[in-house]
């Protein structure tokens, strides 16, 4: 299945990209996706445990199983306002 991954702020700087379409195995969850991304972008290991998973515009537990077409991102601690 294919998912869309967005990168913002520190994630965008580390990966050097804002958006990625990625083919991942069925039943991939947030934890598995984190591993896949760390293999692709080794420097992301520095952010392990820092970002919160968001799936289709909502914060979601890392154990959330992703589905085809999902829009996924990792949210570093926010500092708006």
């Amino acid at each position: 299945m294919k998912i869309k991954i967005l990168f913002f702020a520190i994630y965008k700087e580390i990966t050097g990209t804002a958006k990625l379409e990625l083919e991942v195995p069925e039943k991939t969850d947030g934890l598995k996706l984190q591993e896949i991304l760390e293999q692709k972008f080794p420097d992301l290991i520095k952010l392990r445990g820092v970002g919160k998973l968001a799936v289709n515009l909502d914060y979601s537990p890392m154990e959330t199983v992703l589905e085809d077409g999902d829009e996924v991102t990792f949210i570093a601690p926010v500092s708006g306002g």
Partner: protein
């Protein structure tokens, strides 16, 4: 309800006019503005980055919750993104209510929730470098 994420300079007067109501006896305004230092270190300017679709959704959820919690008439919120200079407003929240207590409290609630939930990130520029400001790690349901 009015919610907007914009790269343009914020216009507080425009938002005041949006929340006006014949039954309102109070309009409360909160402005978040760019400060010239971070724990004593001189800040030159800063950038706000944003996950716009999710920020819009989270702002709507916050404002909807605020309407439920407080006896207010209207709420208008705008958050600026992009490059900002010292003294410029990054966020404006304007709330009208029949009596002042509700709009004060609602205004406070909105800004505190924004700081905890909305995916916006601030990067500060110093004379000798730059850094992402680590604020609040959002709660996951």
């Amino acid at each position: 309800m009015h919610i907007k994420i914009t790269s343009e300079k914020l216009d507080t007067q425009k938002l005041i006019e949006m929340v006006e109501d014949d039954g309102a006896g109070a309009i409360d305004i909160f402005l978040g503005v760019v400060r010239n230092n971070m724990k004593g270190k001189k800040v030159i300017s800063l950038d706000y980055h944003c996950y716009e679709a999710m920020s819009q959704k989270k702002l709507e959820e916050i404002v909807n919750e605020t309407y439920k919690k407080f006896d207010v008439k209207n709420i208008a919120v705008e958050h600026r993104i992009g490059h900002l200079q010292i003294r410029e407003a990054s966020v404006v929240i304007v709330v009208s209510s029949a009596h002042r207590g509700a709009s004060f409290e609602a205004c406070r609630f909105v800004i505190e929730e924004i700081k905890k939930k909305v995916p916006i990130w601030k990067k500060e520029y110093f004379e000798d470098g730059e850094t992402w400001v680590e604020g609040y790690s959002p709660d996951v349901p």
